[in-house]
């Protein structure tokens, strides 16, 4: 593919044609259906989409953490530093997880072991992966807690998870993820369960650490705003497929896929001022939003067709007859649509 030419020669991670199916083999539904993406070294890719679009399953598939059964990776290749992760032995894969690719999840409350202190959980990872002795591991754990901005790190290391707030637990999770110096951090909705002021802290932290560590980041979020803050490129998923991928600024300025454009239009933002309506001056003007009509189709309704066509204002008969390929609209900007949005 020509997009690869202007990307760094060898991407750190390259997923090709990934297909992950849930349910019985003959009637299974593809949660991820032919996803291809690449992340360069020290690059941050945002993966956005609504619930059920397949973002999280993509992340879990990369780490081979999809529960089997009911899930199964049935097709594709996942090249990480030149090796196909899908062909690794279980032992070799275990060495990749945590050491080379780390994962942080949405639900901070369930992510830590409730009967181990925070410090000892990080130390455990260090002892396993870095073969440190107990004392050194504990010392390093405190260092990492300090690096992620946890006040009085030594005291926090001795705390139990229930004594920490959601924001602090997410910091501890990031400390644990970083402790083994991974090349790639996958963050799956890392701030969705957090309040907005705490979300700002965590996003700021991720942004800073990524630069300091020259680490690659796959940031999964349903929130376009979250992705806009810290990613270099953004890929948009819809019903198991990537429908658009572009440099972040390009995507927000000139979205090419009607779904991306509609998603941006339907998102309420703080932009623009509601005008005060004549008298009495008290009243605002409720601003109607521009929603996307209908709902995401169920996987059984797919076929060789554009999956967004039922909700798309630009849909034509051809959209129901053929699947639009993810083609380049411009260099570095790929769109899966027969009628992509052009410059306005």
């Amino acid at each position: 593919m020509s997009t690869e030419s202007d990307r760094k020669a060898q991407p750190l991670l390259e997923v090709r044609g990934l297909k992950t199916v849930f349910g019985p083999p003959e009637a299974g539904a593809a949660a991820v259906d032919g996803v291809s993406l690449a992340i360069g070294r020290a690059e941050a890719l945002g993966l956005v989409g609504e619930s059920g679009s397949g973002k999280s399953v993509t992340a879990l598939s990369i780490l081979r953490l999809v529960a089997d059964p009911p899930g199964k990776i049935v097709d594709g290749e996942i090249f990480f530093k030149g090796r196909d992760l899908l062909r690794l032995e279980a032992d070799a894969m275990r060495a990749v997880r945590g050491n080379e690719i780390a994962l942080i999840l949405q639900e901070p409350a369930t992510a830590l072991n409730p009967v181990m202190t925070v410090g000892s959980q990080i130390a455990e990872a260090l002892r396993l992966h870095e073969k440190l002795n107990r004392r050194d591991a504990n010392r390093r754990a405190v260092e990492f807690l300090d690096r992620v901005g946890i006040p009085s790190a030594e005291k926090t290391a001795r705390s139990w998870p229930h004594q920490l707030s959601g924001g602090m637990i997410q910091r501890a999770m990031i400390a644990m993820a970083l402790s083994c110096g991974p090349d790639l951090l996958i963050a799956d909705e890392p701030t969705s369960a957090l309040d907005v002021t705490i979300q700002a802290q965590i996003l700021d932290l991720l942004h800073r650490l990524r630069r300091e560590e020259a680490m690659s980041l796959l940031l999964i979020s349903h929130d376009l705003g979250v992705v806009a803050g810290i990613c270099d490129r953004v890929a948009v998923m819809y019903a198991g497929e990537i429908v658009e991928e572009a440099e972040k600024d390009r995507l927000f300025e000139r979205p090419g896929h009607p779904y991306t454009a509609a998603l941006l239009r339907s998102t309420p933002t703080l932009r623009g001022t509601p005008t005060l309506r004549g008298t009495p001056t008290l009243r605002g003007t409720p601003q109607r939003l521009r929603p996307i009509p209908g709902q995401v189709p169920s996987p059984s309704a797919h076929g060789a067709a554009c999956r967004f066509r039922g909700r798309c204002a630009k849909a034509q008969p051809v959209c129901g007859e053929d699947k639009p390929p993810l083609d380049e609209l411009d260099p570095g900007h790929r769109v899966a649509c027969f009628f992509p949005e052009r410059k306005v």
Binding site: E50, S51, P151, S165, G167, M168, D195, V196, T197, I198, Q199, A200, Q201, L203, D204, H222, D223, L224, G225, V226, V227, A228, G229, I230, K248, D249, R250, F252, E253, A262, L263, L264, S266, T267, P268, T269, L270, R271, T273, P274, T275, L276, P280, T281, L282, R283, G284, P286, Q287, R288, L289, R290, P291, I292, P293, Q295, V296, R311
Partner: protein, 341 residues
């Protein structure tokens, strides 16, 4: 106690309500306080007091939407429920259309409930899974004697159409619907008894962006069609900005600022409001450049900081902020905030 409204301030408040509104407020919340007792009972366990609401006052005019924003644990949901007397307050008054709700007996309160309704956040747990949509939507009408027999089904069909559900939805069960559709059922149920005032408690937080916009539009349309007043509770400032006339900002059980929506978002007066607005991620190229990042967590409402509860996180805190509660300021008729600056 500093910060509590004096009697003169209180009468000014009443005067204000008269001045800027053609009719009297449909809802008036007056110095509401709610304490929960937590812990205790067991050996050596000390009971502690959690101040969920502390001196909360505001009013809502007929046809007005008051947005209520704040982070989790600030007391927004408690406030919504106390207004409907789903939980009882510790002190203060809630006056609905001239009637002090806390004076009412159970029977009189039940009669009033038809005029005040609530839409819940979670469209999955707020509907009875064994009720068809028709049963869910007609239950209230039947209880309040608004319709009977054949008319019940006709009115249910009207409502279902009004909230944008297909006609065949009446005979189906909640599990057959998506989150957005269930939320429409919840809205139809709330509106079935023809209320004047609706508490919307995070009504779109569980929905995906594209569906969220549909439900927000529906709420906006129904409000003008039926002349409803909303207390619209949300943690999402963008949503609140789109739907509200005025906005109240809560922090640790207190309203720290109230203002007309345009003024509040353009020129927020309280440092917490400023930080909250600046923390919202914006889906724009480059994201946001200038952000105020607050340090630390929201303190526990069991042991809130002395003085201004926000001072430990406030970028502009002064030494005196830790000593006394900031005064309540009213720069103009529509605006109230609590800050020394």
């Amino acid at each position: 106690m500093i910060g509590k409204m004096s009697e003169t301030e209180h009468s000014q408040e009443k005067e204000r309500v008269k001045q800027d509104l053609p009719q009297r407020a449909i809802l008036e919340v007056d110095r509401l306080v709610k304490h929960f007792v937590v812990g205790g009972r067991g050996l050596g366990r000390r009971a502690e007091t959690l101040k969920a609401l502390d001196d909360v006052s505001f009013h809502i005019a007929p046809g007005e939407t008051l947005g209520l924003v704040g982070e989790s644990g600030c007391g927004k949901t408690t406030l919504g429920r106390i207004i409907l007397r789903l939980i009882e307050s510790t002190s203060g008054r809630v006056i609905f259309d001239g009637v002090d709700l806390f004076d009412l007996g159970a029977r009189a309160m039940r009669a009033l409930r038809g005029r005040m309704q609530i839409i819940f956040q979670d469209p999955f747990s707020s509907l009875n899974p064994r009720f068809t949509v028709e049963a869910t939507v007609t239950e209230g009408m039947r209880l309040f004697g608004l319709a009977r027999g054949r008319e019940l089904r006709d009115r249910a069909a009207d409502l279902i159409e009004k909230v944008g559900l297909p006609a065949d939805a009446l005979d189906r069960y909640p599990h057959e619907f998506s989150g957005g559709q269930r939320q429409r059922v919840g809205i139809a149920r709330a509106l079935s008894v023809e209320p004047e005032f609706v508490v919307c408690d995070e009504p779109v937080s569980a929905l995906d962006v594209s569906v969220q916009a549909q439900v927000i539009n529906l709420l906006i349309d129904l409000r003008s069609a039926m002349g409803l007043s909303y207390l619209f509770i949300s943690h999402d400032l963008s949503v609140v900005k789109h739907i509200s006339d005025r906005v109240a900002v809560m922090y640790l059980g207190k309203i720290v600022e109230i203002g007309a929506v345009a003024a509040l978002f353009d020129a927020p007066r309280h440092p917490y409001t400023r930080a909250l607005i600046s923390a919202v991620p914006v889906p724009e190229p480059g994201g946001r450049t200038k952000r105020i990042i607050l340090e630390g967590d929201v303190p526990s409402p069991i042991d809130p900081p002395p003085g201004c509860a926000f001072h430990p996180r406030c970028p502009q805190a002064q030494p005196e902020c830790a000593l006394a509660e900031p005064p309540l300021k009213r720069p103009d008729d529509h605006t109230m905030y609590r800050c020394i600056l």
